[in-house]
Symmetry: C2
Subunit: 306 residues, 2 copies
């Protein structure tokens, strides 16, 4: 089966509605889309490589879910509502069982998020998935990294450290744990980003470790600092069972969390399901407040791609 | 140097204007773009792998040019004017000399085409480049594969066979030939696609071999046929010097040509620089007319990704 037949069988869904604004979907040199009038578009592109960004033996349906989730997380962190995505898959051979599983995991999440596949390609090579996702946001309302100010609260949606602990579990063969399931199929509240629009100061998708991504906010906002209250970091039951000396590094520097980290400018209550974990200060470094009250400067760290 | 520093050094150009409609370029979770009011967007995504889609030893500047050219070719084949692109690069190590060369080749072409880099990522892994390019077209005016009708002329811009002969030259170490230069830096008329809007019947980017891509037009247009006049196929001097038995297979089934194949519905002259190479007929197969006047059905063939 060649590229065109594979795309036809696994990625065309003629029985589905084409998606809002989709004038021409997969099958030509490019897709044709009519953007929502007056909105700004939010566009992201991420490549995930087998053995680098996800385990080589991750089931195909999880790969499909995960690679789309990584891109959706970027859209939500900007406060965007998802519209369309393009998909480029490279795989060692035309493995139909793998593609069927991949497409199922991909479309399950795509349908829940309301995002439509509009094109892409399938080629032979080492396993990798590139997805480009587009969303829409009211002009001027996108959540940016640069909107933090000293005195704002620091808050998070999701559980930092799940990705790192999940990888440890996966590698140890414990694949049914909550954390391993999060690694395989990152889950995050699909409506949180939109709830932050017009209210949060700054926001970022936490994918390379909480401290490193917090650092991006502080730098983009003009060189601010932060105090992080470790006792308030949300946990799942598996993280809660760890010693603090083991847990904090996972929560502060582990990758693959897909949490939404944001700042909150006033005294209004935080959105449901999010946690107050500290505050933005005038200048660095980031201070970690331990449960016994002492504070220490954070050492830089996080997932590095090189 | 980590991912963020690499992007900052090689892919941010703070001294350049950001590009039309670019509200927020590289550096946040996603780019923010304001699409041209009333236009349709044209979106394509292609992944190029070292050793598969281009020679492993292609100089970095050529890789940068080539990977963008492949996407621009898709935009032009839809009649779109280029707007923005996202870039995802995977490379085995943080090789700064390679990245500097790559960025130079990429931006040289981007600036000529008027397309702005707005985001993406750089990660570690086997050499691969994914580019997602977006263009704009007046609603309803995009060139599609499905617009061919029996009786239309068949025409081409560019020289089919250059990609295949260029690969042969490259592998033989003849890297300064016209064809090898085309393989390294595919060149095509940047204004031809726009000149076809509202005039051509169907159009397609020829990247997988002339016969195969012609087949896509014929299938998308409802199962038509075509007669191809081999004596009229444009050549460069290196193709002209080959025996016909060697040249025709290269011209009909070689990949990487980045020609623009289109149909022409009336007797008006073709756009400058394009050639009349046959006509669309009621039904298949595709007939090849040889210079001595005999015709033969074409055997299917072309670049297959699996």
């Amino acid at each position: 089966m060649d590229e065109f037949a594979l795309i036809e069988r696994y990625f065309r869904r003629p029985d589905q509605p084409p998606g809002d604004g989709v004038v021409l979907g997969p099958g030509d040199d490019a897709a044709l889309l009519l953007p929502p009038a007056g909105d700004e578009l939010v566009m992201t592109l991420d490549t995930s490589l087998g053995g680098h960004h996800f385990p080589d033996d991750l089931p195909a349906a999880d790969v499909g879910h995960r690679c789309l989730a990584v891109n959706l997380s970027d859209l939500y962190a900007m406060g965007a509502r998802p519209l369309w995505f393009l998909l480029s898959v490279t795989l060692p051979q035309a493995d139909e069982a793998w593609l069927a599983g991949f497409a199922q995991g991909l479309f399950d999440l795509a349908d829940r998020a309301g995002i439509a596949l509009v094109g892409g390609d399938v080629t032979r090579g080492p396993l990798s998935v590139s997805i480009q996702a587009t969303g829409a946001v009211t002009p001027g309302r996108a959540l940016r990294r640069s909107g933090a100010r000293a005195g704002q609260r620091l808050a998070i949606g999701g559980v930092p450290g799940q990705g790192g602990l999940g990888l440890r579990h996966w590698q140890a063969g414990e694949r049914a744990s909550v954390s391993a399931r999060h690694l395989a199929r990152p889950a995050f509240p699909l409506d949180l980003g939109a709830a932050l629009v017009g209210r949060a100061g700054a926001a970022i998708d936490v994918s390379d470790g909480l401290l490193q991504d917090l650092g991006h906010i502080l730098k983009a906002s003009g060189g601010l600092g932060a105090e992080l209250d470790l006792a308030t970091l949300p946990v799942n039951e598996e993280l809660a069972a760890l010693d603090e000396a083991d847990r904090y590094p996972l929560q502060l520097t582990g990758g693959d969390d897909y949490c939404l980290l944001f700042t909150w400018p006033d005294a209004r209550p935080l959105p449901p399901g999010t946690s107050d974990i500290g505050m933005i200060t005038e200048k660095g470094p980031i201070l970690l407040r331990y449960p016994d009250g002492r504070t220490e400067p954070a050492r830089p760290g996080g997932w590095r791609h090189f």
